[in-house]
């Protein structure tokens, strides 16, 4: 678990970044007729018959920080947890959970909410709730 690192409230940048994410989801819908769920795309990059564009999409995600550094001259700001055991467990849970629950923050969150899907709304409320509860327990539960 990452100790509480203070962060700055960034409504404008976050809104602008959100719009870019939304535009990407619209691109995937308009061009490929699909939901831009990252877990779905990741799985499809291995298993789908038309996996090419999905592999390219993941390559795009991977090169975005490089382009960001080239454009701005600074590395994206981030603080990642250093307890590697915890990060491994977190990764495993995120993988199992998103595969079992058929979606993540993008598939159920961005795309599902935009499609007014009841399944996605329930999924979002559930994972947001459990995530907030987990942070609460880890930060204030004395663990």
């Amino acid at each position: 678990m990452l100790p509480a690192v203070p962060t700055e409230f960034t409504p404008i940048a976050s809104l602008a970044g959100g719009v870019l994410i939304g535009l990407s989801a619209v691109m995937v819908m308009a061009l490929f007729g699909r939901i831009a769920g990252i877990v779905g795309i990741t799985t499809g990059a291995v298993t789908a018959p038309d996996r090419g564009w999905r592999i390219a999409f993941v390559a795009g995600l991977l090169t975005a920080p490089v382009l960001w550094i080239l454009a701005t001259g600074t590395a994206p700001q981030q603080s990642v947890g250093t307890n590697l055991l915890a990060m491994g467990a977190a990764g495993l849970l995120v993988g199992v959970g998103t595969a079992l629950g058929s979606g993540c923050t993008s598939g159920h969150g961005v795309c599902g909410l935009a499609r007014l899907s009841p399944r996605s709304l329930v999924a979002v409320v559930t994972f947001m709730g459990f995530a907030a509860l987990t942070v609460f327990v880890l930060r204030y539960g004395g663990l």
Partner: protein, 142 residues
Amino acid sequence: MRLLMGYLAGVLFGLGLILSGMADPAKVLNFLDVFGAWDPSLAFVMGGASVTAFIGFRLARRRERPVLMPAFDLPTRGDIDPQLLTGAAIFGVGWGIGGFCPGPAWTALPLAAPGTVVFVPAMLIGIVLGHRLKTVQGAFQR
């Protein structure tokens, strides 16, 4: 064309994650820390992304078929089943521990923080396990 467009969509998504702060686990965890160091920024990310998608999806669906594919292929289920709830809950716990969901994890990988380098392979193993679990559960339900 599919490859180029897929790549550009991925770049756009990744730049959106970085600009918005989603690729920084500290910011995500502070958003989830409602009773503590609360940083509401991520609500703006979700808001901006879903409203843009809400409008854009409607425009896109006016076409008979997507530009580069023969047909739309979208989820049709509307039922709430135990798999959905269990999966979302497990995902939530993992998200709360690490501060990464799948998109930001991919985007953060090239920055090579040790935590990310451990997180991403674990996530990929988890996805395989999750799909296995889904098949097993589905078999039991039938």
